[in-house]
Structures are given as structure tokens and as C-alpha cells.
Amino acid sequence: MRPFRSIALLVAAVPALAFAQGAAPAQPPATPGAPASVGPETTAPSSTSPGEPPERSRTQRDAPAVPQATPETPAAPPAPRPGPGTSSSDDDDAAAPAPTGPTSGIAPADAPVLESPESGEAPRTTDAQQQRLVNGAPLYNPNVNVHIVQKKRFADEGKHELVLYPGVVQVNGKFTNHVGSALHYVYHLQENFALQVGGQYNWYSDESDFNLELIDKVREQAQAASSLLLQWGAHAGVEVTPLYGKFAFFNNSLAQFSLVLSGGAGVGKTRHLIRPKVANEVDGQTYQVPARFGDTGNKFLGEVGGGFRVQFGESYAIRLEVRDLIYTARVDKVDGCNLGDFEALEAARAANQPFDGLSLSGSCKVAKFDGVDPETKKNYREDIILGRDLVAEPSSDVLNNVSFYAGFSMLF
């Protein structure tokens, strides 16, 4: 049952994709700096039929600037013969049969048409439906070779992007579980290359149910280094977008997305569970004592990741990513106390002596292992032996904290 959260969250990401494509506003004119990626672009004509619904009107308004057709113009001027750019259909641009005879639609002056049927060539294309623009492209026109992935509608170069990931859920937690939030800032230095800095705070980090099950049933547990918990992390790095594309949801609407890959380095603060939540019974009264964690210091952090950025509108995007935070873990101190410190503390505890005169290392936070909690009546001295167990056999590991990041961003 443990991976349930992992796959559930990934499956739950599908509505987010629907949200991305469904919420996309009408596309603004293509940014001049946006590069074309696949094939040549065909200049799209524009029509201004008054009978079209408001949505169409908005699309026309937002379409790339092209020469405006004169409404009274009944037919387009003679069009060039189909050339390499117009006659060969793209893979998914199978042209529908062109109508013959006169049509009542209003065609723009620069509408690309073929020769008339009387001349023995292909029929003239003047139907209003065929001249209709869809996202700036005459997709209904059988004579126009329209490439589906034509041009990035939104240029990233020079833009700033602020990304908030409200939900960051660890998906590979064998011995640990992390849930947090992250905030990243991305500066798009070039169209496909960006610099990023970010921070993450795990507001829930604890050992997994699996680890607790092993402790309970078979008296086994992960090594301290393997169950190190990441409280927060900060990193800087780069992000590249090697490819982009678009998809339709039920053939009805469009979403543009980019594949993003990122890498970076930074620092993270770690901790380790010393004692799980327990019930403390004192004088016939039971107190619930929360879990106790020990500080295990700051660690070097590496970060690699990848995912999708689904853009809707010029200024907003949704990001679905998987990132791996990699950190080396060596646990030889807990709350600054090493094995020698814990043994001295344990000896003093057994003899019921004060800790004041003990010779401890300078980093050892002895106050954390002395005294009684006024609320739960828990004697902190009882945790000394648990802390000692963590460092008794110094362990090291390289941890991969792989998390699913779901967030949204604003570009400006």
C-alpha cells in the first residue's frame, strides 16, 4: 500500500493538465522573437465575417498581423500554383476535398487559392469556412500546408518566471516521507536556457510507516544515514527546454507545453528521528509526547529534475515536474553531540549526576538532553541512549529524495 500516494498523485495530475489547456486564454499575436521549429510557416490570411461568434472574433483579433481582407471582396486574386510549400500535405494536414463552384463565403484578398476547375487545375478555394482561422492558421484550407507544431506562441527569452509549488510530495520514500512546498525564480536567459534559484521547505518530514513497521515487528530499522530527513533546501542552477509541443483535449482545445530539464546545487538542513511519538504515564496520568527529532546539520545538496511546463496565456503556466534532491549523509553527530558526548551523558544519567561538569565537545547542545518537559512530563535524559544509538555506528549514504512537484508560475 505504500506507493499508493505516489501513483495517486501522478494520476491526479491529469486534471491539472485539463486545467492547463482549458484555462488558456485566446492566444496573442506570436512574438516576433519566437522561433519556428518545424517546417516553414504559411502566412495566414484573416477574415472578418460579421456573422461569426464572439469567440471567433477574439481569435481573429489576436491572430498574427496579416493584411486585412476587404469584406466586399468576393474572391481572392489568382493564387499561385501549388508549390513545395503548399501542395505537399504535412503529416496530419490531410486536405479535405475542395468545393467546386461559386461559394457565398467572404474570402480575404490574400487567401491562397488554386486555379479554377475550368482551367483543368484544382478548384478555387473561397469558402468562408475554409478561410477561417484557427489560432491564426487556416487549418480548413485544403491548399495551405499548415504544420501543426509551427511556432512557439510565447517567447521566453528575457522573461522572469516565479514558480510556486504548493505541493511537493516525495515519491520514493522507502524509509522517509516528505511533503512540502517550494518557490523558484527562473530567469530565461535565452529561449531554451534559463537560470534558476529556489527554496523548498518540507512541512512534513518523518520516517515512513514501513520503517516503523520494521521496528515494531522485527526489531530492524534503516541505518541513520538512510533515514535522514530533509527539513529545507536551497539551490541554484540552470534549466533547459530542449523540446516543446502541443496537445488537444478531445480535439477541442489546445495546450502548449515544454519539456523542462533542470540541474543545480545548494545546501539543505537535515534532521533525524530520535524518538517517535509516545505516551508518557506519570502518576497515573497519560501524556502524549510528540516525536522528537535531532539536528544532523547542513548537507551539500545536488538537484536534477525534469517535467512539463504547460503554458496558458502569455503570463501563466502550470508545472508538473519530478526532481531528485541528492545529498550525502553521514550521521556522526546528533544535536551536535558525538558518540563520546553521549557516552559521557549516559554515564552521568545512570549515576544521576548533573551534566554541568562534563567535558563535552563544544557543539554538543547538552540542554536538549536534560530536564523535564513541563507539559508532557517527559524526562529528556531518557533520550540520551536513543541519540547514542544513532551515532554508535556512524553510517553514511547518498540519499535520493525524489519528489513530484505540482505548481504554477507567473511570467513577467
Partner: protein, 272 residues
């Protein structure tokens, strides 16, 4: 699934689903954008082969080999039957636990560990819903068409379980030996072990999120994240003296929960 997991999952689902529904009501996008889809699977049967690797291992690891037969009722909807075999094993962690627990005599009463059932033969029938059709620009000039789909179905699975706690014939307690190996250090020489074993046939539910990349007209590559789900079953309050004497002990767990086998599937599809 514990209460915390359920709450988190439910909150995320509700928030994402609600946002998506609200956004789609806006209808701010123009209709018909990725038009004239190049690949229209409607009306075509297809045959697929897939291999599944474990995303995360705990006490068991599975490697799935499946054959699927599907019929595309529409471009976005298909029914599919899948059957196959899963090669499985105990992980190194499970083996380590089994060896050390033999000598842990201070633990005289315990419960069996969760999620130790391993699947082998299995078959499911399900529905595949592919509402997303798209295309990406790969290395500038190569457009790749794909579908994104959800798959949900159910069927039966043949399961087996080998305990890592209950050894009915301890051969060498200190060395953690519970089999007939010829030398203590030579695990491979064992032909039989004495761990308690169980088998059963159980209902299985499978769900997947996947991508199908079209390669020309009839071929396709599928990438999936697939979860195989079945009800767990194990015993609790086991007495060491009883199981080491070869006697049944303990009682079934009241609410054993569900076992999830999450796999990354790589598949090939041939469309007729």
C-alpha cells in the same frame, strides 16, 4: 493507506479536479486546434507487448511480462485485455530481515510483515481513455505524435507468499539458515527452504497513466506508470514456539489493507 495519506490525496484530487472543471467551463480556447490527427486508431484492433519494472521496491520486486489485445472503439476509447506473468523475488532487505530475525529470540510474539504477496500469472480487462492527442517537436524537425491515456481495469491474479519471519525448521539460528544448503555460506546450494508458504487467487485491479507514441501507421511505443492493486492478507499474534514447531499460529489481520505494485511499463503496440 493511513489517514494522512488519504487526506492528502483527497485534498489534491479535489483541488485539481475542481480547478480543471472551472477552467474548462470558461471555454476561452478556440476549438479544433490539433486537427486532422494523423493517426486514428478507431476501429482497429491492436496487439501489444510490454515489460514492467518496479518503480520502488520494499520487500518484494516484480518484473512483468504482458501481452495485450485491444480494440479501439473510438479514437479516444478502447477496451483491452491483458495477461501475463510476473517474475518476482524477495529483495535483499527481506532476505536480511529473515536471516537476522531467526536469531532474535527476544521477539517471541510478532505479526507478519505487510505486502509480501507476490504476483505471477495474471489477467485483466480494462478500458483505456485517451482524451489527449498531441505532438511534440523532437530535435527541431521530427514531429512525434502521442496520446496520453488513463487505463483502469480488473481481473484475477495468482499470488504466492513466502514468510520472512516464520521458519518451520531452523537449521542454523546464528547464521540465519532456514534451508537445506550444503554449506552455511553457500545459499545457492539450497534446493528447498522451510519458510511458511501460501498461495491464493485474488481479484486484482490495475490502473495506469501512460503515453503512446505513434511510429508510422501501425506501430507504437507505450510508456506507462501502472499500479497493480490487490487486497493484502497476513497473520498477526504469531507465537515463535508454534511456528518453529511447524504448527499454524496467529489469526488473520483484521484490516490488512491493499498491496500496490507500482511498475514502469515499456511496451510496443502493433495496430492491425
Amino acid at each position: 493507506m493511513n489517514a494522512r495519506s488519504l487526506r492528502a490525496f483527497a485534498a489534491l484530487c479535489i483541488s485539481l479536479t475542481a480547478l480543471g472543471a472551472a477552467a474548462q467551463e470558461d471555454g476561452v480556447l478556440d476549438s479544433a486546434v490539433v486537427r486532422n490527427r494523423l493517426y486514428k486508431p478507431a476501429g482497429h484492433p491492436e496487439l501489444s507487448l510490454s515489460v514492467g519494472l518496479p518503480v520502488q521496491t520494499y520487500l518484494t520486486a516484480h518484473y512483468f511480462f504482458d501481452v495485450g489485445l485491444a480494440y479501439n472503439l473510438f479514437d479516444t476509447f478502447a477496451v483491452e485485455a491483458r495477461a501475463g506473468f510476473a517474475a518476482s523475488r524477495h529483495t535483499g532487505l527481506a532476505r536480511s530481515i529473515s536471516e537476522s530475525f531467526l536469531d532474535r529470540e527476544d521477539k517471541r510474539v510478532t505479526d507478519e510483515l505487510e505486502d509480501l504477496w507476490r504476483m505471477n500469472l495474471h489477467g485483466v480487462i480494462g478500458a483505456r481513455w485517451a482524451p489527449i492527442y498531441g505532438k511534440i517537436s523532437l530535435v527541431a524537425d521530427i514531429p512525434v505524435h502521442f496520446q496520453t491515456y488513463l487505463w483502469v481495469g480488473g481481473g484475477l491474479g495468482n499470488l504466492k507468499r513466502e514468510s520472512v519471519i516464520q521458519c518451520t525448521q531452523v537449521v542454523d539460528r546464528a547464521a540465519g539458515v532456514c534451508d537445506n544448503r550444503t554449506a552455511v555460506d553457500d545459499r545457492g546450494s539450497a534446493t528447498e527452504n522451510y519458510w511458511v508458504k501460501e498461495t491464493r487467487v485474488a481479484p486484482v485491479v490495475s490502473a495506469a497513466l501512460g503515453f503512446r507514441f505513434f511510429v508510422k501507421e501501425q506501430h507504437g511505443i507505450r510508456l506507462e506508470l501502472r499500479d497493480w492493486i490487490f487486497k493484502d492478507s497476513y497473520r498477526v499474534n504469531l507465537q515463535r514456539d508454534e511456528w518453529e514447531a511447524g504448527n499454524p499460529t496467529g489469526e488473520p489481520a483484521g484490516s490488512p489493507g491493499l498491496t500496490h505494485l507500482v511498475q514502469f511499463d515499456l511496451g510496443y503496440t502493433y495496430s492491425f
